[in-house]
Homo-oligomer: 347 residues x 2
DNA sequence: CTGTTAGCGCTTTCAT
DNA sequence: ATGAAAGCGCTAACAG
């Protein structure tokens, strides 16, 4: 078997140049694009020599070195907390689809400690899916030192970086309105911080909607959990095991709603009949499961997010500077919480 | 509010040097470690000047530039197909735990196209969780050009890279033996390629074990699916809806087993009683769910994998060269497929 | 059309 | 104890 490759070291542009009998500049030119501005600028014979030399050596330009010169890494970073959440997978999928044709590689950062990492590593653009309470000014600082950021946050104002807002509040109210049209005993599943008190606009919409309907918030109807699938499952089981269990459950994320559906079925309840369950986020997982999950979510969210991120990464799209991107929300009525009317009320 | 940061450009070591009134060499020295070999080599006053200058500028050394000099990126790449699989999450978690104290950042590559990416981007070490049929020689090529690789594969031989084997075959036989001790109608859930024919050692163990027990493989007992959670759920539903449904289900991955449990419960079957379900992989998700999932899996797998990867990344641990790392497997009997004896047979 | 050269930000001898 | 300077692999002016 021919030993086609070499020494255990990565081939450099210089080795290619030597093997092809040309200068490194020519190699760089041939491999990375046009020279100057106008005409062709390369002869076919030389180009071929270079290409075959590169091929033989298994040469690929060192991105770190290229980055240091051009300032571009051909990389975008996705900082994703909760990788197990289908929402994250949808982000990844959409960004990958959009990045591939541009020769840009999406790298995923599962680490919660994105602030430190982004201070050190460079990417053409970075998406951050959650800024914690202690890091509210980190995006501004990072943006000031040259990091191109797109953050997903309901409250942050754009200061040198883009903010994506999903308008979850109004969206979640859609979900609650849907349930209130047929239910009065409505439970809630929501991830809670260690303090134990529910927070965030998605939970707020629950409380506000109940209040608006003149229904007091029952503490035993609020199932706080730790953010894990197992936790959601346990919380749902507790809710649905109550003597006067809720006839509907509003979950602040789709994945919690999926856990609730599984828990309900385990308890022998017919979802969409004995109990209605609605989620938030409108993930494909929920859409595909059986019974399919009713949910609310932004329209065309992931693709537009991906488009913005890559536009920022490439610098293309002569759009205006950083700003806010809002997403209109919509109600997706499916099997787990069908339409109800007066005749089909569960109370 | 004081405008502490500057121009929208990342501060360089030169800016720090100027602000501190020292040379770039000194800055580099202060911030990255000892100079020379022996004695201290830095005076406290200068060190302080440098540190405070760096602080004020929000300076962090540019990793790309550092990489080009040192050849180290302080990065490991995890190439993970099937990010939704809890197995992948366990890998990520373990590697992050092990990498953090070393100042190494794990980057996740969700892209299936790892060969191309690894040819371009550098990392101190790379873990690859699956090599497809068309890429069998890619690891060797990459290793020859200087990439430090750890691949997870049952068959590949180490040629300049490490191979991790889980010895799934013998492990899966453990699972089947467990089920055969109480069942004769045993179904199988397994992801199948587009060809539609089940492959791989995990499925082979199923067929072999049945054969060994003198039980023919029934085609309608083999639930092939597309690798997604939803697909596994559908396949399990089909299996368990058969007139003479299997009394036990062997799933070639834990996540498929979890789907099977959900499907069984949806159908009103008591898991661990009416039907036994066992998985492969022994993930924490399975362990924590209710009923807890019986499974087989390697012992201490993720931590040892992480240890090896980071050892390769740092070059520490004066171990021998690349080789094969085998993992002994073990049966974990939990609620979804309890111990059975002659008296408790379901046939 | 091709080669020479400077320099990106950083580390690292080697002088001082 | 500190600084000057070379050079990592690459790209981009500018000559030729």
């Amino acid at each position: 078997m021919a030993k086609t490759t070499g020494t255990g070291q990565r081939p450099t542009i210089r080795m290619v140049a030597e093997l092809a009998g040309v200068s490194t500049a020519t190699v760089s030119y041939v491999l990375s694009g046009r020279r100057g501005d106008g005409g062709p600028g390369v002869s076919d014979p030389t180009a071929d020599k270079v290409k075959s030399a590169a091929e033989r050596l298994g040469y690929h330009p060192n991105q770190a070195a290229r980055a240091i010169r051009t300032g571009r890494t051909n990389t975008v970073i996705l900082s994703l907390t909760m990788l197990s959440d289908p929402w994250s997978l949808s982000v990844i999928e959409a960004v990958q689809r959009a990045a591939a044709p541009l020769g840009i590689t999406p790298m995923i950062l599962g680490d919660a400690d994105w602030v430190k990492v982004l201070g050190i590593h460079n990417a053409d653009a970075v998406f951050v899916d959650a800024v914690g309470a202690k890091e509210r000014d980190a995006p501004r600082r990072l943006a000031a030192t040259g990091t191109t950021l797109v953050v997903f946050d309901e409250l942050l104002e754009p200061e040198g970086f883009d903010v994506i807002r999903s308008l979850a509040g109004p969206g979640c109210e859609l979900a609650m309105e849907h349930l209130l049209n047929g239910h009065r005993r409505i439970g809630c599943l929501t991830a809670v911080p260690s303090s134990g008190i529910p927070v965030g606009p998605r939970y707020a919409a629950y409380a506000r909607a109940l209040e608006g309907a003149g229904i007091p918030v029952r503490e035993d109807y609020v199932g706080g959990f730790d953010g894990t699938t197992a936790g959601a499952y346990a919380a749902a089981t507790r809710l649905l095991s109550l003597a006067d269990r809720p006839t509907a459950v509003y979950a602040t994320t789709d994945f919690a709603a999926v856990s609730a559906i599984n828990a309900a079925q385990r308890l022998g309840l017919a979802v969409g009949k004995d109990v209605d369950i609605i989620g938030v986020g409108n993930t494909v997982e929920g859409e595909r499961m059986s019974p399919s999950l009713s949910s609310v979510g932004p329209v065309d969210f992931f693709d537009r997010l991906a488009r913005l991120l890559l536009q920022r990464a490439t610098g293309e799209g002569s759009d205006a500077g950083p700003g806010v991107l809002d997403f209109p929300w919509q109600l997706f009525v499916r099997e787990s919480a069908p339409h109800r009317n007066a005749a089909a009320r569960l109370y």
